[in-house]
Amino acid sequence: MYESQVTIEGERHSRVALSDEALALVRRLWTIHGPLMFHQSGGCCDGSSPMCFPVGDFHTSAHDVLLGAWDIASDADVSMPVEFWMSSEQFAYWSHTHLTVDVVAGRGSGFSVEAPEGVRFLIRSRLMDAAEPFA
């Protein structure tokens, strides 16, 4: 489990983590697609799931929240930053939960880059201690 850096001002606890399998998959996908980022999707078919895009493909806006970021490089000499974003209106309903990006066998995923590998990123959630993340 790899916890993200804290990216929300005033907070002290990580909000999002990569499972070991997700970390390995993101590293592998980076070698195919280059730098990557996540945006958490809302509802419908393939939705309510994290979408993984090449950096620069999906444009975040002032109405998105950066929930966390990782450096997924296994070599200390290089940097491989990956950010995790969500729309602020969705964050208003999700903010009390900690998210872990995991991987399951799967078929499809909008335009997320992992689908051809026969896998799908999936969010697992747990309640945060309500006082802590906002302290």
Partner: protein, 507 residues
């Protein structure tokens, strides 16, 4: 009761090909990169056919074919286009049972649904738009005695359409029928979870259409959907799916300055006012069924009534009856016409639903029914089955705010009309809603006050061609199912004509 033979067994109504290619320019075309992927049936969790894995080269080939076909199709008379659409409808009707087996095997849905809903609706949809285009008038305005402005509807040309997996054939038809009626050529990408049933349909109707008018490129979103949606050779993109991809498609469309229509998610409230329980009669029974429709199509419907709001005076009794009714829902072999709840469409969908059941429990929602994966035994053991699940909680829980796309309903109570509307509208989405009351005035006002594009009043989950369908808020842009959809596939040409010989006199 009928149990249709499973594909691959001797009595099956369909024998799938071992491999399906792209349909481009009126021919089956192998993928440029020579790669294929497996289509898995959710009924057993086993692969049953290979499907061409499309890439940008295949999209370009399909766009070439579409651009070649578009001018003649766009100039074909509305009489001729309507004839083609009606002929397609007849073929769907004539092959209803075979297509239903294909759809159930591809998607996992209980076969009574494609037999009685998806396919009859698909046929009717083509007929509706055949009729709509025949009866569509242009208009004119007489500016003065010698000048008239004429408005003509013209096709856009070549359009892209990306189809979801929950109603693979019907959702394709919702987009194809207005596009074709309006005179466009189409490049369509089915969902990678459920590509085959559309290809089976193309085997039947391919010859009815002029080559290149409809082209189907299969493959994954990132490999085939993205080059289609971001192409500068389409004049419009239509997408049904989730919000992040919807935003991405709008970003691509903005780069090319083309319109996009989007049908995105929902978290539809189903509101039961206390007077539904004034009598335990047929209407009460109908309202109870309206609650249970959350399990229709395994909950894999953008408008699934996944939030049930019940007025306090009847909360315990109505919910108690609804739990008992849902408990009787028959889950089983999707090819059995007695089955009411089939399989979820994919393994990742199954996993996502289970992850939501987990967070719901953590958040303190009370599990009232179901809550687990269902093991149906035998060949079905590895299929993707989830028990119809009822949770009780409050509207700020994630169960109440996120589209689970499974047979899971989140139930809460409300205290009077204003509370009902407040809870119903406390959501990012606005696709569907249900209102149940014996008081026509209450039902009318609630229907108008709920911020959703489709409010079913004293019914739910009907999708007749003619009734406009589309989202408010984050649920999307545009309307389908109604002649309004023609406008999403047409340009307006204005001819401003002077019938005077007199010079303007300015120069």
């Amino acid at each position: 009761m009928t149990i249709y033979a499973a594909p691959g067994t001797p009595d099956s109504l369909i024998t799938f090909k071992s491999r399906y290619e792209h349909w481009i320019g009126g021919e089956w075309v192998a993928p440029a990169k020579g790669m294929y992927f497996e289509d898995i049936t959710p009924v057993t969790g086993k692969p049953f056919a290979e499907v061409a894995r499309g890439a940008a080269e295949d999209i370009e080939a399909a766009l070439d074919a579409a651009h070649k076909a578009a001018p003649a199709w766009g100039k074909a008379s509305t009489t001729e286009r309507a004839r083609v659409l009606n002929a397609i409808a007849d073929v769907i009707d004539d092959n209803r049972e075979m297509l239903a087996v294909a759809e159930t095997w591809d998607n996992g849905k209980a076969i009574r649904e494609p037999l009685n809903a998806d396919l009859p609706l698909a046929a009717d949809h083509f007929r509706y738009f055949a009729s709509a285009i025949r009866s569509q008038d242009g208009d004119f305005q007489e500016m003065d005695g010698t000048m008239t402005a004429y408005q003509y509807h013209e096709p856009l040309g070549v359009v892209g359409q990306i189809i979801p997996w929950n109603f693979p054939i019907l959702m394709a038809v919702w987009k194809l029928a207005p596009a074709l009626a309006a005179g466009n050529a189409v490049v369509l990408k089915p969902a990678e979870q459920t590509p085959v049933s559309i290809l089976v349909l193309m085997e039947l109707i391919g010859d009815i259409l002029p080559p290149g008018v409809v082209n189907v490129v299969n493959g994954f979103g990132v490999e085939a959907g993205k080059p289609l949606a971001s192409s500068n050779r389409i004049r419009k993109i239509a997408f049904t799916g989730e919000t992040t991809t919807g935003r991405l498609i709008l970003q691509y469309a903005s780069a090319n300055i083309i319109p996009a229509t989007l049908e995105l998610g929902g978290k539809s409230p189903n509101v039961f006012f206390s007077d539904v329980a004034d009598h335990h009669d047929s209407f009460y029974d109908k309202a109870q069924e309206g609650f249970t429709l959350f399990a229709f199509n395994q909950g894999e419907v953008c408008t699934s009534p996944s939030r049930a709001l019940i007025e306090k005076p009847i909360y315990d009794s109505f919910l108690g009856d609804a739990i008992e009714r849902t408990r009787k829902a028959v889950q089983g072999n999707p090819l059995d016409t007695d089955t009411q709840v089939g399989a979820q469409a994919s393994n990742d969908q199954l996993e996502k639903i289970l992850s939501y059941i987990d967070i719901g429990t953590q958040e303190g929602a009370k599990l009232l029914l179901g809550g687990e994966r269902a093991d149906l035994g035998g060949d079905l053991s590895d299929g993707y089955y989830v028990q119809p699940t009822i949770f009780e909680g409050h509207n700020r829980m994630r169960l109440f705010q996120e589209e689970i796309f499974g047979p899971v309903v989140a139930v809460t109570s409300f205290d009077g009309y204003d509370d009902a509307i407040s809870i119903a509208n406390d959501t990012l989405y606005g696709l569907g809603a249900g209102v149940w009351s014996r008081n026509g005035n209450v039902a009318y006002r609630a229907g108008r006050d709920i911020q959703a594009g489709r409010v079913w009043v004293n019914n739910y989950h009907a999708y007749p061609a003619g009734a406009a369908f589309g989202g408010y808020k984050s649920s999307g842009i545009g309307r389908e199912n109604n002649k309004l959809a023609l406008s999403h596939y047409q340009q307006t040409k204005n001819l401003l004509v002077s019938y005077s010989e007199e010079p303007l006199g300015f120069f």
